[in-house]
Symmetry: C2
């Protein structure tokens, strides 16, 4: 199996439980690709892969100029497809990429995401 | 660059010109992933990769139980995303996968498609 090409930060102690998500064996390629087919969501995953500064990040960290309700929808779509794991910290949800799970099931896919460039504005 | 992991059949002589499609430099990962996020379309690409018996194939070859207008739509979506190349042979359009172009731009992606298994019915 391919080893993960992206740094995976050690889990902090006393993490909240993850919000509902598909198990690694339940990940479906067509569903994961659908989640990544939106440029905003692709950008979220790419930024998490390349620029993470902590174990997981709230939506405010991404600096996205979209209504909160829209961002909530996109982060949920990524989690429900199995691309990210989300945890509830008080009023805030934070996300990180399921690097090991995705590399195990779809080796090389995250490298393509990391190499992605946003469409010209 | 990765070499193509799938057999590419030599071009027959006197091929009709391809129907309109993006150039290899114009291929967009998020668009290609969107085209592949539909199980029917993923199945079409996988079958072309693994079971091709000729240079390209008409939609009847796939044995898909869908209305002709729906199939026309899906084959067009694959072509417009740059996943397949379509040519008009008289009344019939035939498709093949742009293996070299996709491997050049998104190495490893077609391997994931070939390894895909359809969702349980």
């Amino acid at each position: 199996m391919t080893t993960a090409p992206f740094p995976v930060r050690p889990e902090p102690a006393d993490l909240p439980a993850p919000l509902p998500e598909p198990a690694v064996a339940e990940l479906r390629l067509e569903v994961v690709l659908g989640a990544l087919s939106d440029p905003l969501r692709m950008g979220i995953v790419r930024k998490l892969l390349l620029e993470s500064e902590a174990f997981d990040h709230p939506c405010g960290w991404f600096g996205l100029d979209r209504p909160k309700s829209s961002l909530t929808h996109h982060f949920k779509a990524l989690r429900e497809a199995g691309v990210t794991r989300q945890r509830q910290y008080g009023l805030e949800r934070r996300s990180h990429v399921r690097v090991a799970d995705l590399e195990a099931r779809f080796p090389g896919l995250l490298r393509l995401v990391a190499d992605w460039t946003p469409p010209a504005a």
